[in-house]
């Protein structure tokens, strides 16, 4: 089944004619993602890697009523407009890649999405991948093997690619990796992500990679404690030595008025989640849960698009 990126996903790429949009479209297509349309205002009628480009999302939806997902490669300043356009056009899943969207814009995007029943992942994410079925965004495809059993939700790409790769090579495979992004306001935050994985029959355990700032990890711990998330959760929370008051790369990664790692770790431990201290402890922690590996995964090569340039 997987979540958000599934075999049923039929995608539109916003900003398909841009450098990044075009490059990623090619990689996604090669991976097997179903992409049927692209949108760049003013570039209607062109083609990118064989995908027709439309001037507006509305036109794209008219030509391809089967569209259910939009992947947005649009600069931060234009993201609110582009997101509203997707939501108003009736597409129910939206992935926002841009980093640096003013967070009050994000609040508006998220509020409109909620009103119209749209699932939004991001902003400031490199994407969602359900190996080997569907990749959306800009994932490190080589780090994922599947169909697997472990759902990964992460604020970051970098250290998560490493963790996901170990899970994949270890034989459990990943059901879906969803990067929720490093912004203070997220379309899908840890609690929502955990509930998605809880409902997904393919996912047997959840790995959560979090950071300083905010309280999403603590709210996730509350869900575990209340029994709303019954599947085992393993967490790695980085930036335990962060100086207060400094914004460390992610707009959301700042200790101000709480949001330190210690409180998050303690809340998760109290709720019964496993918290690892170093990323390389991940396999031992999964093994301890007694989840069976998938022997077939050792027979098939890891899928990755050949496009590097």
């Amino acid at each position: 089944m997987a979540v958000f990126a599934t075999e049923k996903t039929i995608a539109l790429i916003q900003g398909i004619t841009g450098k990044e949009g075009a490059f990623r479209t090619k990689r996604m297509l090669e991976y097997g993602t179903k992409i049927v349309a692209g949108v760049t205002p003013g570039k209607g009628g062109q083609e990118v890697h064989g995908i027709p480009v439309y001037d507006s999302v509305e036109e794209a939806v008219k030509a391809h009523p089967e569209l259910n997902t939009a992947v947005q490669f649009v600069p931060a300043r234009l993201a609110k407009d582009a997101s509203f356009e997707v939501i108003e056009a009736g597409i129910k899943n939206l992935l926002i890649i841009a980093e640096g969207i003013p967070f009050q814009d994000t609040m508006e995007i998220v509020a409109l999405g909620k009103e119209k029943g749209v699932t939004i992942v991001g902003p400031n994410t490199s994407g969602v991948i359900s190996p080997p079925i569907c990749e959306l965004g800009a994932c490190s495809q080589s780090a994922f093997h599947g169909p697997g059993k472990i759902g990964v939700a992460s604020t970051t790409g970098s250290v998560q690619w490493y963790i996901s790769r170990l899970i994949s090579l270890g034989g459990w495979g990943v059901s879906t990796m969803m990067q929720i992004g490093g912004d203070p306001i997220r379309g899908t935050d840890f609690p929502e992500a955990l509930l998605m994985y809880e409902k997904d029959p393919q996912t047997e355990a959840i790995v959560m990679i979090g950071e300083i700032g905010g309280d999403a990890e603590i709210r996730a711990a509350d869900l575990i404690e209340r029994g709303e998330v019954k599947k085992p959760v393993i967490a790695y929370i980085y930036a335990r030595t962060a100086p207060p008051g400094k914004r460390l790369g992610h707009a959301g990664a700042i200790i101000e008025r709480g949001g330190g790692v210690e409180a998050k770790v303690k809340a998760l431990q109290k709720a019964g989640a496993i918290v690892i201290t170093y990323p390389w402890e991940i396999i031992g922690a999964i093994k301890e849960l007694g989840i069976e590996i998938i022997p077939e995964l050792f027979k098939t090569p890891i899928k990755e698009s050949k496009v590097e340039e």
């Binding site: 980093e99 640096g100 003013p102 967070f103 009050q104 609040m107 508006e108 998220v110 509020a111 409109l112 400031n124 490199s126 994407g127 965004g137 994932c139 490190s140 080589s142 970051t156 790409g157 970098s158 250290v159 490493y162 790769r165 170990l166 090579l169 034989g171 490093g182 203070p184 306001i185 935050d189 950071e211 309280d215 999403a216 980085y238 930036a239 335990r240 030595t241 962060a242 100086p243 460390l248 790369g249 707009a251 700042i254 008025r257 210690e262 201290t277 170093y278 990323p279 390389w280 402890e281 991940i282 396999i283 031992g284 301890e288 050792f298 098939t300 090569p301 890891i302 590097e308 340039e309």
Partner: protein
């Protein structure tokens, strides 16, 4: 996170029609004296630094006349408080206070919406109010589309026991704070603490805090926060180019440049816990991967630098592009200090090819450049390190060695390491990698 100093915030508040005390900002005790002579009332002299709790730190002094104020200012200007040097003080009329309140607008991450805060207790930090007087603090979430309406503020004010005769005026102030400050200026948070009722019945913002969303500064080009004036050359340059550069310790020995905040912060943890001195946190990830070479040139100006670590596990970033950019910069700059480049993820194969070829070139040039990648075994070239399970930790160990520090893990007491899990991870990798169809993993298996 442009955090405006009190006087800057107050200038904006005044422009937007909120009532602030009469006053002026000064840079010398002499200026303070003439300001007080002009005001002709008892005053308060407050240090202007980007931090709360200034009063407790001794940074707020009262004076009855110009001479006293001048003396007070001379004890504040140029001194250091809470880790910040004082360049300016704000001189204001001393208010005759009957009662203090707290009002603020914050960004509520959990509700993904703004929230207003009102308390009938003011003058202490909001955390303290929350702890000591929870019943006197109200928080109301605001629908970002409908925006705050005055009745919501009135309801909140009533709930916390604000006297009936003040409910309208305080609610209007909250309304203005929301619309004219928080929304108009893309604030991450703003507060008036204390909001003072004076003996002559006025509501005055005795203090003002305003922090603006970095990512929205393009909409507020007219604001030039003073805190930004004190950026050093490196910070200014990074800001111009648009990548993240956070100077943690100007005399640090290690610069870490990563492609994503997660890896960068993890490395920061391991270096700090091992007793290393990390000079900076730098994220060239996502949007800025083509700037890797520029980032290298920037950190090489750190005075006490002994090693540079490029730690890249790429997704949106492309490891091959980073490798290329960094190698070109190294050839151009010929750094005297050793550099370690770790490149995994998207574009890994291309990055390995580049590093194999270039690292031999660097050797001929007499430069110390070592490298590794997840699927590298350490045999690819004379300067390659094994990756695999160790791909994150090996580079950290190596740069610490270059600084004369023996790497040791020293996680916090509340999060001890789990050697048994690590052992299992390695055992399973040894077992599963030889089964893989990919030759690079089968090769790696021999070295895990």
């Amino acid at each position: 996170m442009p955090y405006l100093l009190e006087y800057e915030a107050k200038q904006i508040f005044k422009k937007e029609g909120l009532t602030i005390p009469e006053g002026e900002v000064a840079e010398t005790p002499k200026q303070v004296k003439s300001i007080v002579e002009r005001i002709g009332k008892p005053v308060v002299v407050k240090i202007q630094i980007p931090s709360g709790r200034r009063g407790r730190a001794g940074g707020v002094k009262f004076a009855d006349n110009a001479d006293e104020a001048e003396k007070a200012a001379s004890e504040l200007i140029g001194k250091e408080f809470l880790g910040h040097k004082v360049n300016k003080v704000l001189v204001e009329e001393k208010l005759n206070i009957k009662k203090e309140f707290y009002i603020g607008v914050v960004n509520d991450r959990a509700a993904k919406s703004p929230a207003i805060l009102i308390s009938s207790e003011g003058g202490m930090e909001i955390e303290e109010i929350t702890q000591k007087f929870p019943e006197k603090l109200a928080k109301i979430n605001v629908d970002i589309f409908k925006g705050l309406q005055v009745f919501q503020a009135r309801n909140a004010a009533r709930k916390v026991g604000i006297p009936v005769e003040l409910i309208n005026s305080i609610s209007n102030t909250v309304y203005n704070l929301y619309w004219r400050i928080y929304r108009k200026y893309d604030a991450t948070f703003t507060e008036i603490n204390p909001l003072c009722l004076t003996t002559d019945g006025k509501l005055v913002a005795a203090d003002a805090r305003l922090s603006i969303d970095d990512d929205a500064m393009f909409r507020h080009k007219e604001i030039m926060p003073e805190t930004e004036k004190y950026l050093n050359e490196r910070e200014k340059h990074a800001k111009e180019k648009g990548y993240v550069y956070v100077e943690l310790d100007p005399n640090g020995e290690i610069a870490c440049i990563s492609n994503g905040a997660g890896l960068g912060m993890s490395v920061m943890d391991y270096v700090n816990e091992a007793g290393g001195r990390l000079a900076c946190f730098m994220d060239v990830g996502g949007r800025f991967y083509e700037l890797a070479g520029d980032a290298l040139k920037t950190v090489l100006t750190l005075p006490n630098l002994k090693a540079v670590l490029f730690h890249v596990y790429a997704g949106l970033t492309r490891a091959n592009v980073i490798a290329k950019g960094v190698c070109e910069a190294i050839k151009e700059v010929k750094p005297k200090i050793p550099i370690l480049i770790q490149v995994s993820g998207t574009g890994e194969k291309g990055a390995i090819e580049i590093m194999k070829k270039e690292s031999e070139e660097f050797k001929k040039m007499g430069l110390i450049v070592e490298w590794c990648s997840h699927t590298v075994t350490g045999k690819e070239s004379s300067t390659a390190h094994k990756g695999g399970v160790d791909v994150i930790e090996t580079p950290v160990k190596r740069v610490l060695e270059w600084c004369g520090i023996k790497y040791k893990r020293n996680p916090p007491k509340w999060l001890p390491e789990h050697p048994e899990w690590e052992k299992t991870t390695r055992e399973i990798m040894r077992k599963t990698l030889p089964l893989r169809p990919e030759p690079e993993y089968r090769e790696l298996a021999k070295y895990e």
